[in-house]
């Protein structure tokens, strides 16, 4: 642009020293006399010099930049993970680039090529529930990437994947949620899960069933449905479930995959004239910013997504090969109440 690129040579000649000395000053090495250091810093200031991270990266073989791959930022769930990761990266002196999930998924070109070329110092990948054919391709893309940089996974990690990771213990979460609802007197508890959780060792539906068993409640297959994670899908799934059931068998509580799905359920319940929480308790997951402003405010699960992002970065940098589980807690709001008497 404007100023022709100032290089280390310009600074060196301005300050009357060698480029090695300038480089020492840049990297904060101790063995430079105060007088020289000052000359160099003055020249840098005068010329408004900024060392090129590109050149630096080439010769030092480290770029101080990390990457994160996620499905879509428009879902606040991922925005939170990203934010946590980004802040931690920044603290540790790294920048963070974001890549859409399609970077791994597409067939247009070698999926991981672009990422591999970037010579990142590390990569975080948020793994969603994958259709089976994707699964293999993604795994091979990940293996490929791993040749170039350390990789940490977030989310649903199939047991066959041998990667460091941070994931939720969805099963335990669901177990406790069922217990919670049972303690409120609910006996007809519906469950809306995510499609294709089969690969998840900590899948929610297992926790749901265990929870029912613990509470000595019968498992009713019609109470269990699956959907993709949007509000529309949630509404459709819930409406579908109710329409297949006689009114007296309608559930008195529903556990949703996430808050978006819960929002869909609430809309659907409103359409059907079901009062929340009097006739139906609803519980979501993710604790999105809008949950307190829904009517009634939505009870949800805080899964500490930011902290998940943070931990992923820490694992990446430290190089530990751990599989971690994020902790979580129930955030009680007004959408859950005692089961109706009838």
């Amino acid at each position: 642009m404007n100023s022709e690129n100032v290089t280390i040579y310009d600074i060196a000649s301005d300050a009357g020293v060698s480029i090695a000395t300038v480089s020492r000053v840049l990297r904060g090495e101790a063995s430079v006399s105060e007088a020289t250091r000052k000359k160099v810093l003055d020249a840098i200031e005068r010329r408004n010099y900024r060392p090129s991270s590109i050149a630096r990266g080439l010769s030092s073989r480290t770029t101080h930049s990390l990457g994160i791959v996620l499905p879509k930022l428009l879902n606040p769930h991922y925005a939170m993970i990203f934010t946590g990761a980004q802040e931690e990266a920044r603290k540790l002196g790294y920048t963070m680039s974001l890549f859409p999930w399609s970077s791994l998924d597409t067939r247009e070109y070698n999926p991981a090529a672009m990422l591999a070329e970037r010579r990142l110092d590390g990569l975080i990948v948020c793994v969603e529930y994958l259709p089976p054919d994707h699964d293999e391709r993604v795994l091979s893309a990940l293996q490929d990437l791993r040749q170039y940089m350390p990789v940490v996974l977030i989310g649903c990690v199939p047991p066959s994947y041998d990667f460091p990771s941070v994931s939720n213990n969805n099963a335990a979460m669901m177990e406790e949620i069922v217990r919670y609802l049972a303690s409120l007197g609910h006996e007809k508890i519906a469950f809306i899960g995510g499609v294709r959780e089969d690969h998840d060792p900590l899948r929610r539906d297992v926790g749901y069933e265990n929870g029912l068993r613990d509470a000595r409640l019968p498992y009713v297959s019609s109470y269990r449905v699956y959907c993709r994670g949007t509000a529309e899908d949630g509404a459709a799934a819930f409406t579908g479930m109710l329409s297949s059931l006689k009114r007296e068998y309608w559930p008195t509580a529903v556990i949703a995959l996430n808050d978006l799905v819960a929002m869909g359920c609430m809309a659907s319940a409103r359409d059907l004239g079901l009062a929340i929480p009097e006739q139906l308790s609803v519980i979501g997951c993710d604790n999105l910013f809008c949950t307190p402003y829904l009517v009634p405010p939505l009870t949800s699960i805080n899964t500490h997504q930011q902290r998940t992002g943070t931990r992923a970065v820490q694992l990446l940098i430290s190089g530990e090969n751990k599989k971690e589980t994020a902790d979580w807690e129930l955030v009680e709001r007004a959408s859950c109440a005692h089961a109706p008497k009838s």
Copy 2:
């Protein structure tokens, strides 16, 4: 990592050609015989070779990567801008890195230094309403950056900033919103604006006043308050306004800075026993994903943030020095109705 880094030399010797030829194949130059091209591609495949974008960037002086600076991704408004920008960048063969606003703002170290060092091919900056002292520092940071890469601004761009930009015509938006509410019979229309819009040539409050004048409605200063853009702030601002007013002077409609603030107003109204939309019409801005699921669904303004992001990238790449205005439209939902009779 695993495989020692394969370089262009390895491929060259594998294929029995010079590195110049390998480079030609990589860049898809025409002047390579089919036979040679095949030999090279085979070697690349065999060794699983990926050219280093770092080295490439150093010698070609272009990185094919863009940056975007924004306040916070947790606000879906910015997530939408980012998504639009990212998709367009990808289409054009660029990657996009995200930097928190504090990159420009902090005093800890030279604000723009990190960005300048990255030698991006271009940078988008989302400018928020700034406190006056920030304003100068940000401007100088932007000027500084501009020496290294083209910069495009999004959002509130002070007239003194001579940068290409994409912004909203907030004034025109507000004018039309006031007209809309007036057409529904509202006469007491409140307005919650953003703090420090003073620098915005298209500031909302100006549009608000113009709208009132056009509708021949009196301007009442108590109906106009300001807040930062969160739901909590919105609730506080609205509650504050009402508490300073006798009940008969309470507004029958409120225009909020954005949907978050509108959500705050709705909560506040509910607390005060005001029915929406029977006693109070509420209108937000940004058309967030959750607006249809609020009770009642929130009328809002679609400002096409994704398209804004897209355009910003196009301006960046094309190098046009234009100041553009995004278009927008009212999305009517149930939170606005005719003014109450009384």
